[in-house]
Subunit: 236 residues, 2 copies
């Protein structure tokens, strides 16, 4: 199993490196494969390095003692994860699980720290990544603490539609999305069907067709809600 060099150049962490610098990183990377559903690391494990997702999908999530789960991030190809615990040399504060067949490169902790210390641009990249994660978390906290499920879903769909257009193919199971939104599949399903009844969108399997983005936005902002069966109130 060899490392995909072309891929590495697209990873934000390495984007600024010269060819010769990349060449020096490659032999350090460990290539790992994970099956769908396999745990990559568990909360409490000591962080052995930074994980770089080459192929597949990963979720990072917290578990409560009674088995409820909250997704913190979905990781897509080219993204990295586990970087905070690797930086601190502490235990992972959350779990990571492969959502599909995945290929992952592990950059061990010590070379990772060495890169940060020797390359100021690398340090800035990490800071930017941390800052991005912090912004994600503020959004998530805002969502969990201050929004109902319909508002959370509207916000989420509009966020996706922003880059993928008004017909969205969900790239994870609805039950995973429920867990990211801080709810359960049953509740998510009910909200989807209320939105469909209100002609805000259409659901066909994992494809969501957004019919009325501005209506969704009004729900996201709390200007309207889905309490009534129709949305004649939206005419006001």
């Amino acid at each position: 199993m060899s490392v995909d060099t072309t891929f590495l150049r697209k990873v934000i962490l390495f984007k600024h490196l010269t060819d010769s610098q990349i060449e020096r990183v490659i032999p350090i990377l460990e290539v790992k494969r994970f099956a769908k559903g396999q745990m990559i690391f568990k909360e409490g494990d000591t962080a052995n390095g930074v994980y770089i997702l080459n192929r597949g999908k990963v979720k990072v999530f917290k578990l409560s003692p009674d088995g409820k789960e909250q997704v913190l991030h979905f990781i897509t190809e080219g993204e990295i994860f586990g970087e905070v615990a690797a930086f601190l040399g502490e235990a992972f504060p959350a779990n990571a699980e492969s959502l599909s067949e995945s290929i992952i490169y592990l950059l061990p902790r010590l070379p990772f720290l060495k890169l940060i210390q020797e390359d100021p641009q690398m340090a800035l990249n990490i800071m930017a990544l941390f800052a991005y994660r912090l912004k994600e978390f503020v959004r998530l906290i805002d969502s969990l603490a201050l929004k109902n499920i319909a508002q959370r879903l509207s916000t989420y769909l509009l966020f996706i539609a922003e880059k993928k257009g008004n017909v969205v193919a969900l790239d994870v199971k609805k039950s995973e999305i429920a867990s990211f939104l801080g709810t359960i599949p049953e509740t998510l399903s009910r909200v989807f069907s209320k939105m469909a009844k209100a002609r805000l969108l259409k659901v066909r399997g994992n494809k969501i067709e957004i019919l009325d983005p501005s209506g969704l936005e009004k729900i996201a902002l709390g200007i309207f809600d889905l309490s009534q069966g129709d949305r004649t109130n939206l005419q006001l």
Copy 2:
């Protein structure tokens, strides 16, 4: 209004600086005073720099359109805030308000960035601070998404008691704590009185005397709950 040099040496951000480096930072700092209840910055304001709290108390919080609020952090003397937005040069993602008479030093954005770029130790300090904030947020998300109010309060009290001992004087109003725990004063008050009835603690004004730390821990972990009036079940 002059800058307190002794204080500055204790700020994590500057701890490693030599005397002459500190001397160069001092003239750059703007000293600001805020009255109790005064806004320091609002969500959406462009970040003009990093805020260093010299004297007083500050809360950083999100607001929903209908006025509900979620506290993200309480800032205590010597801590800094607004560093992420200042680093990125973006709008603040949250609000900051002074909870008492406060004295705050503002380190403007450009000198802040200059310090990061020229002093690798400063860059590492910022990374460590970001990492700390990320860990705080993971705890908050875990709390909001996976715990009921009694669990959140138990966790919070045990966290405080860890450093201050078993008789805790709350340093912010109960209503602020409610907002940090993602609830409202009425609910917090009810949980306190259930805990008192279960002889886990005593409440006298803003002083909380923890009588049974291990009982609180069991609640925090979800092993027991407060649904029954007494806690004979704890004997099991």
